[in-house]
Assembly symmetry: C2
Homo-oligomer: 335 residues x 2
Amino acid sequence: MNNPIKIAVDAMGGENSPKKIIEGIKLHSLVSKDIFYNIFGDENLILPLIKKSKLFDNSYKIIHTAEIIKDEDSPLSAAKKGKNTSMWLSIESLKKKESDAIISAGNTGALFVIAKLNLKMIDRIDKPALSALWPNRNGMNIVLDLGANIECNEKNLVDFSLMGSALHKSLFQDENPKVAILNIGSEELKGNNTIKNTYQILMENKNPLFQFKGYVEGNQIMDGDVNVIVTDGFTGNVALKTAEGTANFITSELKKTLNSSLLGKISSILNIKNLKKFKNKLDPRLYNGAILLGLDKPVIKSHGSTDEIGFANSLNVCEKIIKGQLIDKIKKNII
Amino acid sequence: MNNPIKIAVDAMGGENSPKKIIEGIKLHSLVSKDIFYNIFGDENLILPLIKKSKLFDNSYKIIHTAEIIKDEDSPLSAAKKGKNTSMWLSIESLKKKESDAIISAGNTGALFVIAKLNLKMIDRIDKPALSALWPNRNGMNIVLDLGANIECNEKNLVDFSLMGSALHKSLFQDENPKVAILNIGSEELKGNNTIKNTYQILMENKNPLFQFKGYVEGNQIMDGDVNVIVTDGFTGNVALKTAEGTANFITSELKKTLNSSLLGKISSILNIKNLKKFKNKLDPRLYNGAILLGLDKPVIKSHGSTDEIGFANSLNVCEKIIKGQLIDKIKKNII
């Protein structure tokens, strides 16, 4: 391998780790040949899994530590636990330039705080934002912020626009992504002052690196007419979770209905291939991987409850972000 | 009819009106015998429809006006158009005690402003809130505010709790509804100050007329563990629209998938009864009818794009609210 991409993997976070982490690495390594994995965690647990998965010897290194951050740790207590945890060490390897991106399926708040303690903010970005892929009729949106900042000002929302469009460019190679602000469509005066001011700023100071398309409403998020949807972390988190809840509700109602009679069961079996296709299209593992934007290195959060397939997909997000030169693109977008 | 319930119906609002309005009244009148409809709008359009629908002669009165408020009118220009529009006259009939509740499928902002101009606020309620039914695993939630107030303080959210629980009681006859505040589950400090203060107030000053259950997240709205979910109008509107968008996206993807092969089509036909059951359960017409709470008379907004079945269902909401003595229940909840 010439100059492989190096991904720092916190192997100890999330449900069923490190098993799913190592199996996810194996899956990813089968399709991505030029990646080196710096794996942080308990060697006694990791090594047998790696042997079983037959990961190529020259594609990884284990950096042993028995200390881990738990899901129930508060961000503060996690930060205090500190410097010998698998999460801290994996983030620190970015600071030491031993890795190009970090991924963890562990405690989100802790990841957020420890990343901020170890990494620098990109110049002229005030607040980091949590962004994620959101499926739509034509592919995938980026939505941000999804919970890093409960309150945001105009400058933050403008920053999110340019960081989100840089992310969309690095993931999907489109030259000129379309950005919109999430708003409400009440016939009352639309939105709060922060939103209206952000709209003015983005309209008046056109950024040549993305197209500003104005407002979208919640029911338009999945229309696929825009690529990047900007909102404060409170609203974004409620929208994301509401969409998840609605999707779960509908698919479980569908399942119940299809199984409610013998004829229903038989015809569902006949239709199983189509139903599987449907399920695959909506599979949350496909768009697993939230990206913390604003720090000068890529920090990726895998869903804690995902499996090895979901984790492999978020490794793919890491790879695309590094190859797509996300951080450089963000810096270029700051004009 | 002894002392029938009188509903003021703005016949001119929304798509395909007054046709769907009159047909909706007819559908409702077939199941609800003790209702009198005061129908406001253009007699030349309404009368032929009533004749065709064979509505009972003694169950309605037409109050003629040719003036209407359009969907594209701003709330202000609608209010200026004023006193001879079907919307204004129908609301005014509450003030004159000629009707017990008003329903319109027209311009929401205009309805809101004209209702506030004509009707009094309930004592000690500061702001009206738009509330609606939201399906969940066990039945229906009430969610409010859905867009009447972009920014809300602690007092408003507490008011929404007691108004929402009064509404749930009048619709579903439960004695002690469970109320929760919509919040986010980031590991960061949860929620903004308004939300945290509201939580404190509701915890410390227990209202015997509802149970306060703390916070829920967006993905829990449809779990059916609580009956009333309280939020500011901006967040509520985004959540509602995001849920609508997600439901539309999923059902259209499902349709596409089931029709993508011959075998799929055949088995869908075999399964058509079950798929219909599924569709019916999620049919938005079933929970059509948003209720403006806080005024001293019931004001109900039907979705503009619903059909006669949806409109009949929102007439049913009017009927239940009047029979369930909503306004009295709200007043009793203010302790």
